[in-house]
């Protein structure tokens, strides 16, 4: 007996429904397990030194050059970058000249500026007057776009000699 097209369609629909009826409970169980039993829920985030790669501080003719490479998916707050001299102690320097950054309004922090993934170059002007500066303390803070923030970071770094920075 030859099966009509309509019967064939009915059989196929039945088969698909049966298959779905068998597969969907698996996903339902899986979903339930995720919500009720997963103990740890965390986005994958980079270690802070990979998220914000502080570059070596170089001496230039205009002063000191520093910078970061910010990984894609991360951002640094412009207003939380601070630089102080560690050696020689009590040496005063100008605030670093930083790129403008992207304007960002936060309901708690107000208007701030952020640097998203990419390269940030900053300069501390001062020319030869900075010739004695050997160590800097650099502070910065940033977050992942996934919705978590790293604690403020502080690094003590050597200033590369002019010859080392420009061999």
């Amino acid at each position: 007996m030859k099966m009509s097209k309509r019967n064939l369609l009915n059989h196929l629909t039945l088969a698909l429904l049966l298959a779905a009826a068998c597969i969907l409970p698996g996903f339902a169980i899986a979903g339930g397990l995720w919500h009720s039993s997963n103990v740890n829920s965390a986005p994958d985030i980079l270690p802070v030194d990979q998220a914000f790669q502080l570059q070596p501080v170089e001496r230039t003719e205009r002063g000191l050059k520093l910078g970061w490479i910010v990984s894609t998916g991360y951002y640094l707050y412009r207003e939380r970058i601070k630089v102080e001299v560690v050696e020689p102690a009590a040496t005063k320097i100008s605030a670093p000249k930083l790129p403008a950054g992207e304007k960002h309004h936060d309901e708690h922090f107000g208007d701030v500026h952020i640097y998203r993934g990419g390269s940030i170059d900053a300069e501390i002007p001062g020319g030869k007057s900075l010739g004695q500066v050997r160590k800097l303390k650099i502070s910065y803070q940033g977050c992942s776009e996934s919705g978590v923030c790293y604690p403020p970071q502080t690094r003590i770094v050597d200033v590369l000699a002019y010859s080392a920075a420009h061999p």
């Binding site: 068998c22 597969i23 919500h35 103990v39 740890n40 978590v148």
Partner: protein, 176 residues
């Protein structure tokens, strides 16, 4: 074998394949579920007056430890949700505490401004060490740990809590 019988066999085979796929899917998901709840470690923070606050003193309550800081925008964004949860479920056994990786004066000012209705602490070193013990090696915030009335960690969340998930978690683990 006539065509009708052949088609019936095909349908049965398809259904069997579906059933096997369902079983396999659920098995794989069960196998990939991470570790079971573990006992909360002995952790103590200092409150804003310098008095010690231990996790153990909340035994018998559903304890939500929410690590935060005044410099953390996602932390501040989720705090109204926590304030609401404490208000709604406090009488039924929920206790939230908020150790901050911050200075006491900043924490006091912001907690007052936001109307925080649960104990907060400001103890950068203790909070950092506690987070590391609890599995948050990066020290990133916000970080929340839900500990049931028996002192078992039932959930850790790195990142902001969402209202639906938080409500479901609290309702599932409130003391009986």
């Amino acid at each position: 074998m006539n065509p009708s019988t052949r088609k019936t066999i095909v349908i049965v085979v398809l259904a069997l394949v579906g059933a096997l796929a369902g079983l396999w899917t659920s098995h794989v998901w069960r196998m990939s579920t991470p570790e079971a709840p573990t006992a909360a470690p002995a952790i103590t923070f200092n409150d804003l007056e310098g008095k010690p606050v231990s996790l153990a003193q909340y035994h018998g309550k559903l304890l939500l430890v929410n690590f935060w800081a005044t410099w953390c925008a996602p932390c501040l964004k989720e705090m109204p949700l926590l304030i609401q949860a404490q208000k709604q479920y406090g009488a039924r056994g929920l206790q939230i505490i908020g150790p901050a990786m911050d200075e006491a004066k900043d924490v006091k000012a912001l907690a007052a401004k936001l109307g925080v209705n649960y104990p907060v602490m400001a103890d950068f070193a203790s909070a950092d060490a506690a987070m590391s013990t609890l599995g948050n090696k990066q020290g990133a915030l916000p970080f929340s740990v839900l500990i049931d009335a028996n002192g078992m960690i039932v959930k850790t969340v790195l990142g902001a809590l969402h209202e639906d998930d938080l409500t479901a978690l609290i309702q599932a683990h409130l003391p009986q």
